[in-house]
């Protein structure tokens, strides 16, 4: 069996684009086999299939088995986890649109969990960058990386907030 590893970067707020990309890969005969390192995807070659991919976000470890079982019972295959992102797959018959969230409110909750994590780890990220800068001295290059990082962070939080807002309006 032919296997390839592809690199493709998706931001947390682009999860729907990621789902669409994975579906397209499967339609071309490349099926996601595992995830692990962020941005790297392993694919096995096979027959073209209309697989629908759905990404959930959950970090709870205590109830993980029960959580996964519910998806498996419903017909979803669990392909793996990457930093809290759960990769699920199910074959779509006649182009049927398969969803793991049946209403916007619960879908918005998923983005709220991502947002919460980003807000919680922000002080840690800043702290880490500070420690590095103290050790190495603040060079111009480091200053630019620092500012760039914070800007991406703020941008990401804004995008996720916008997504939540959009979903809440549709309720």
């Amino acid at each position: 069996m032919t296997t390839i590893t592809k690199f493709h970067w998706f931001w947390a707020w682009d999860d729907e684009k990621e789902e669409a990309w994975l579906r397209e890969m499967s339609q071309n005969g490349w099926h996601l086999s595992s995830v692990g390192i962020p941005g790297f995807y392993k694919f096995d070659q096979g027959f073209s299939k209309d697989y629908v991919y759905r990404l959930d976000f959950i970090r709870d470890r205590k109830d993980y088995d029960n959580y996964l079982q519910l998806f498996i019972d419903t017909g979803w295959d669990h392909l793996g986890e990457m930093g809290g992102w759960q990769y699920f797959r199910m074959e779509s018959i006649n182009g049927e649109n398969l969803e793991i969230y049946s209403d916007n409110e619960s879908k918005a909750n998923k983005y709220q969990r991502i947002l919460l994590l980003l807000v919680i780890i922000l002080p840690l990220v800043i702290n880490g960058l500070m420690i590095v800068s103290r050790r190495r001295g603040i060079s111009d290059v480091f200053g630019i990386i620092f500012i760039g990082f914070i800007l991406i962070y703020i941008y990401g939080i804004t995008r996720i907030l916008m997504r939540i807002g959009k979903l809440k309006k549709k309720i």
Binding site: R54, D56, D63, D65, N66, Y67, L68, Q69, L70, F71, D73, T74, W76, E99, I100, Y101, S102, D103, E105, S106, K107, N109, K110
Partner: protein, 111 residues
């Protein structure tokens, strides 16, 4: 009397329920696991309500935290839940309101 007012106040903060939540509570009159609830809701609602696993998992967590349902055991990695007495009061009040709505809407078929 005071107790009644207090009780109804407590219940009102959970109302109105979404259609999915109302069906989940109705299904949990008997202890069921997640997939059991999904199947039961589909049958009860005559296929008008379909609940995704992500939505149901979140609903279970919320309803458990609110004390409307409680864990009733475990079956091969599947948690079973059942309605609490508070959950029963909430769904009963919700249905009472829906019946009032249905009574008011009884003539709409002739519009």
């Amino acid at each position: 009397m005071d107790g009644d007012i207090k009780m109804s106040k407590n219940i009102n903060k959970y109302l109105p329920l979404t259609e999915s939540t109302a069906y989940i509570l109705l299904a949990l009159k008997q202890p069921l696991h997640g997939y059991g609830v999904m199947q039961k809701v589909e049958i009860m609602s005559e296929n008008t309500v379909k609940i995704g696993p992500g939505t149901l998992y979140g609903a279970f967590s919320t309803l458990e935290a609110e004390g409307l349902i409680t864990k009733a055991g475990e079956e091969d990695r599947r948690k079973l839940f059942v309605l609490t007495s508070k959950g029963q009061e909430v769904i009963k009040e919700h249905i009472r309101r829906i019946e009032i709505l249905a009574k008011n809407g009884a003539g709409t078929g002739n519009w």
